[in-house]
Amino acid sequence: MEKTEESRSIRTDVSGMIVKGFGYLFISLFALCCLLPFLLVLGTSFTSESSIKKHGFNIWPREFSTFAYKIVFENPDLIIGSYIVTLGITIVGTVVGLFIVAMTGYALQRPDFGYRNSISFFIYFTTLFSGGLVPFYLLMTQYLSLRDNYLAVLLPGLLSPFLIIMMKSFVRSIPHAITESAKIDGAGDFTIFLKLILPMTTPALATIGLFIALGYWNEWYNSMLFLSPDMKYRPLQLFLYKVVTSAEYVRNSAAASNVELRDVPLESMKMATAVVATGPVIFFYPFVQRYFIKGITVGAVKG
């Protein structure tokens, strides 16, 4: 990569300059399109409600106001509770899920594991055929009684065939000879996995862990299906979903903080909640992005 950069920058022909110029232009515009909607949400959250009613949503607030945030944080109990629930589910789910994914991925790529193919098929088949939503819902609510239980969000999100396959292809790059020599030294399979393989797969663990963590942080579907509105503390995204979709909900939480009904900043409160619910991920994400790129790249190259 480095080498071509030099050798190509020496010979600049017209066509190369056209392509380059167009590249800078197009990529800039596209990147801007990816950013602007976020600024729109951010800007609107700081705009006074009267300005929104008059001028509509804008990226730059015409009348700056932090009123929406004041109301969101007036009753910090709800939002803090949501944060704790989401954080808890994310941390527990990521740690447990990552461990199981790594363990399964390692076992399934061992060439000397006799049941490798049948178990792989058992897992892979779930991506081909599924019972669908209704039987899943009945199973969760009637047979496992997981309604209004955080486990209903935690458990189904632990594993995915995709991540196990990804782990498998990662571990495959570690020579099998390491496992074999450890075996000769008398180490058991589980010890080999724990002491030898896990430390060597840190980049893979980071990538897959991030996938799982992000999945939990953004989770709203199972929350919506299985956690009823009566629950006081709900995962952040469900909290956001309620705020976005029901004006009733916003009025209630505003009433709880003694705001007159006509003064409720309906629109800016939606945006403020979105900023609060998304914020940490966005700040965190530029730092972790390179792991994702690495993960996708390796997954793509190795299949």
Partner: protein, 322 residues
């Protein structure tokens, strides 16, 4: 001699298999144990619901439960065909997915090639970070962003239209413009992320080939057209076939959050299999109809995967799924 062979052979095999099976189990016990959590988890959350598809063949009612509700065989499917739901859902789901696959891949390749042409590292880093951003937010936020732009009263789009003296559009009641909105949102969300795969593939291209072509006088367009694009063809085919397998699977989060749960006006152009099943469960409580659609989706999808896999096997056997 022949008879003894025939008689002896199965006996020997049987013995070997019995001893071998046990030994195999014993030798693999730790690795097997390591797979148990995953096996249990997939068994419960993926396999246990499968027999529940029996719901598709009964007229389920809550009081009788699954086993006492009347068996109606294919009545639910007949109903779905006659009222046209099945056709509409299939058409929408497949059409959206085809457009997603084709336009998505084309745009991803396009972006990957342009990224490859760009030399400034800081520019590449910043733009990649920005293009990645939409992929990492929740579907709920995407719905809110769409509302931010499309809302009739306050939306940015109508604000812009009005500042140019044009009529505001009633986005949320006009089914005709929704295919564009949904496809654009999909492209917005997936391009940055998807282009990484192609970008990585381009990185694998041998520099000497490109240098040789430049010595031979190829310009940038020719280089892209005759070297880079053909180089990406296998990746493109594999990715396309992979996504073909999911052609009956919708992008529930995207559709549900963009359109909203009860916007009946938009159903003709926005209703896909999964939003329909969701409504059957949560709004209409018609469990049997919901299951019938799911079963149709699974079976049909299964055959699409098989055909896709057959196609891969023909084009590049080493990449086939099974």
């Amino acid at each position: 001699m022949e008879t003894t062979m025939v008689e002896r052979e199965p006996q020997k095999k049987l013995q070997r298999m019995d001893g071998g099976k046990l030994r195999r189990f014993w030798n693999n016990k730790t690795l097997l144990l390591m797979c148990v959590p995953a096996i249990v988890s997939f068994f419960i959350f993926a396999y246990l619901p499968m027999p529940g598809l029996y719901l598709a063949f009964i007229n389920y009612n809550y009081s009788d439960g699954i086993f006492k509700s009347p068996f109606v065989a294919f009545e639910n499917f007949r109903f779905l065909v006659i009222n046209g739901d099945l056709w509409r859902l299939s058409f929408n789901t497949v059409a959206y997915n085809l457009v997603f696959i084709v336009l998505g891949n084309v745009l991803q390749i396009f972006v990957a090639i342009l990224l490859n042409e760009i030399r400034r590292k800081w520019f590449k880093k910043i733009t990649q970070t920005l293009m990645f951003l939409p992929h990492f937010i929740s579907a709920v936020l995407i719905g809110l962003i769409a509302y931010n732009i499309l809302s009739y009263d306050y939306g940015l789009l109508n604000g812009i239209l009005q500042s140019f003296g044009m009529e505001p559009v009633k986005t949320y009641s006009d089914p005709k413009i929704w295919p564009f909105i949904i496809v654009l949102t999909y492209l917005w969300q997936s391009t940055g992320y998807g282009s990484i795969i192609y970008f990585a593939a381009i990185m694998g291209l041998d520099n000497e080939i490109i240098e040789a072509s430049e010595i031979d006088g190829a310009n940038a367009f020719q280089r892209i057209l005759y070297i880079v694009l053909p180089w990406l063809k296998p990746t493109f085919i594999i990715l396309m076939l992979f996504s073909l397998g999911g052609i009956l699977k919708g992008n529930f989060g995207l559709f549900f959050n963009l359109v909203g749960a009860n916007n009946t006006a938009l159903y003709p152009t926005t209703d896909i299999i999964e939003t329909y099943v969701f409504r059957a469960l949560m709004t209409n409580f018609n469990f049997s109809i919901g299951s019938a659609v799911s079963l149709y989706q699974s079976v049909f999808g299964f055959f699409v995967v098989l055909s896709a896999n057959w196609l891969v096997k023909k084009t590049s056997p080493e990449n086939s799924l099974f």
